[in-house]
């Protein structure tokens, strides 16, 4: 019994320490992104643009396909229930609201975790193993400023963009079902979607996506920096970055969804 308590306590402390580490890394990255440029330390815009290409633009094809499918799936699943009530025309709002509020940001985050969160951990982990991080330090270059800041900036700007795109593609996916099976014209489907959406739906999704971006960067880079010695450690930290990111993104999602629910006007 005592042992169980000890174990739970230790796990809890470990978890809190991990979150503390993430918060510390996030704060330092935020400092170098938003505060340091005003104190004469140049922001690495060139590297950030490079990262933004990798994180954002190169993710577009796969993200488009996935969110198009998700939109179609939502329409099918929604229609399954809605047709029982003869309310097929509500398919548009079912797709639009669940896409913009929830699945757009979430699917984007998951695609980005798989493509970029893991890449961050692998890149920084490899640099750790080959002493490149040490080399940065002995050259008086701050590894967080040098490596994390451009990634942070790229993620914070690209995730909302990607999410907006995913929302669009999802609605497009839904419209395929709407036009083929629910008697909508394409124009009618889009008009109906616009009627169903509130601006609130879109910006709550975008706020979430910014939070996801910060979480993914922090976890990916933190796992990279805590890589031990040896090549197999890089693999371990990459896997761990993906698993922890997915978990934390969903946890953050829950927190923000709850906040938006309780703050939203009736």
């Amino acid at each position: 019994m005592v042992e169980l308590t000890v174990r739970i306590g230790r796990a809890t402390l470990g978890g809190l320490a991990y979150l503390g580490g993430l918060a510390q890394l996030g704060t330092r990255a935020a400092y170098f992104t938003f505060v340091a440029p005003f104190r004469g330390r140049a922001l690495r815009l060139e590297r950030a643009v490079h990262q933004a290409m990798a994180v954002g633009v190169e993710a577009l094809p796969i993200l488009s396909l996935i969110s198009f499918f998700i939109g179609l799936i939502l329409a099918l699943q929604g229609a399954y229930e809605l047709r029982k009530f003869g309310a097929m025309h509500y398919v548009t709002s079912a797709v639009a609201v669940s896409m913009t509020r929830e699945l757009g940001p979430l699917m984007t985050a998951i695609v980005v975790i798989g493509r970029s969160g893991s890449a961050f951990a692998a890149e920084i982990g490899t640099m750790k193993v080959t002493e490149e991080i040490d080399a940065l330090e002995t050259m008086a270059l701050n590894p967080v400023q040098f490596l994390v800041t451009p990634k942070f900036l790229a993620m914070l700007t690209m995730l909302p963009c990607l999410t907006t795109w995913a929302d669009l593609m999802g609605i497009l996916g839904g419209s395929v079902f709407g036009v083929a099976n629910a008697g909508f014209s394409f124009g009618g489907y889009i008009r109906s979607t616009l009627d169903a959406l509130y601006l609130r739906d879109i910006y709550t999704g975008l706020i979430k996506s910014v939070m996801f971006g910060a979480t993914i960067t922090a976890v990916g880079c933190h796992e990279g920096f805590s890589t031990g010695a040896g090549a197999e450690e890089v693999g371990r930290s990459t896997t761990s970055a993906v698993v922890k990111s997915i978990f934390l993104v969903i946890a953050v999602d829950l927190v923000f969804t709850a906040i938006f629910y309780f703050l939203a006007p009736e």
Binding site: T126, M127, T130, E131, E132, D134, A135, E137, T138, M139, A140, L141
Partner: protein, 277 residues
């Protein structure tokens, strides 16, 4: 010869290490090390695998935090200064890592020019000239557009030296400069170190376990064994030493094999018995 603490602290000491202790977790790997590095000398830190010599070097450039003691570098105690002050000192030192530690995503030229671009306000054309000079010095002229992955082991080390030289450092540190290189390439690196020493009268600290290379480049040597200094002195002084560990290291005598069953058991369980105490 001097086997205890280092010399007295004078202005001619660029680095003074005093009673330095470093711990990894509960295990202490350096047990109170003291020595000095004089201006313009090449000091070689010799020691076997696991002797703590690499840890010593990493601590001297501020990559490991000591658990006790002092490291005086340019009149400041490295263990008790702010991050900004430490960065200030680091701009005046260069370090060449064992595997080169070149940034894989940048070309050789970008690697060497990185400290210049980050820390100075020099014009791009000036940086180009310095870059060409540094690559010339290490014998890699014309390689600025190669990626590190396209270089051989010896060339990577040379490129790393060029990067370490970029800011015209006052002290140059080498971690195992000839490890993993064939004898001819290793001799080339030794020559490079000798050339730097002659041409710039630079203070150089080298960590190695290669005896031949150590005797070739060193003005003085520090022999480390199991986290403590066994001997300090010139090559001749070390050769003349009668200290059993020094002799064993210089004469390349292997550790005696454990023949007795009981000894072997004792060796295996030593760690546990120590933990119980």
């Amino acid at each position: 010869m001097n086997t205890s603490a280092g010399d007295s602290k004078t202005d001619d000491n660029v680095i003074s290490v005093r009673k330095l202790r470093v711990k990894y977790g509960d295990r202490e790997v350096l047990h109170g090390i003291s020595f000095d590095v004089h201006r313009s000398e090449t000091l070689v830190i010799l020691g076997g695998s696991g002797s703590g010599k690499s840890t010593l070097l990493r601590t001297m450039v501020g990559l490991e935090r000591p658990s006790g003691g002092e490291i005086w570098l340019q009149g400041k105690d490295l263990c008790r200064i702010s991050e900004a002050e430490r960065d200030e000192i680091r701009r005046k030192i260069g370090m060449s890592f064992q595997g080169g530690a070149l940034f894989g995503s940048m070309s050789v030229g970008e690697n060497v020019a990185l400290p210049l671009r980050e820390h100075t306000e020099l014009e791009e054309s000036t940086i180009e000239i310095i870059l060409r000079m540094k690559l010339e010095q290490v014998g890699l002229a014309g390689f600025e557009n190669y990626m590190p992955s396209e270089l051989s082991g010896g060339m990577k080390k040379r490129a790393a030296v060029a990067r370490a030289l970029a800011m015209d450092p006052e002290i140059l540190f080498f971690d195992e400069p000839s490890a993993g290189l064939d004898p001819i390439i290793a001799a080339g690196i030794d020559n490079l170190i000798l050339k730097l020493k002659k041409a710039f009268r630079m203070t150089i600290v080298v960590v190695t376990h290669e005896l031949a290379s150590a005797f070739l480049i060193a003005d003085r040597m520090v022999l480390i064994d199991k986290g403590s200094i066994v001997a300090i002195g010139t090559g001749k002084e070390l050769q003349a030493s009668t200290h059993p560990r020094v002799r064993q290291f210089l004469d390349r005598v292997p550790e005696p094999e454990v023949s007795e069953e009981l000894d072997y058991l004792q060796m295996l369980t030593e760690e546990y018995r120590q933990r119980d105490h």
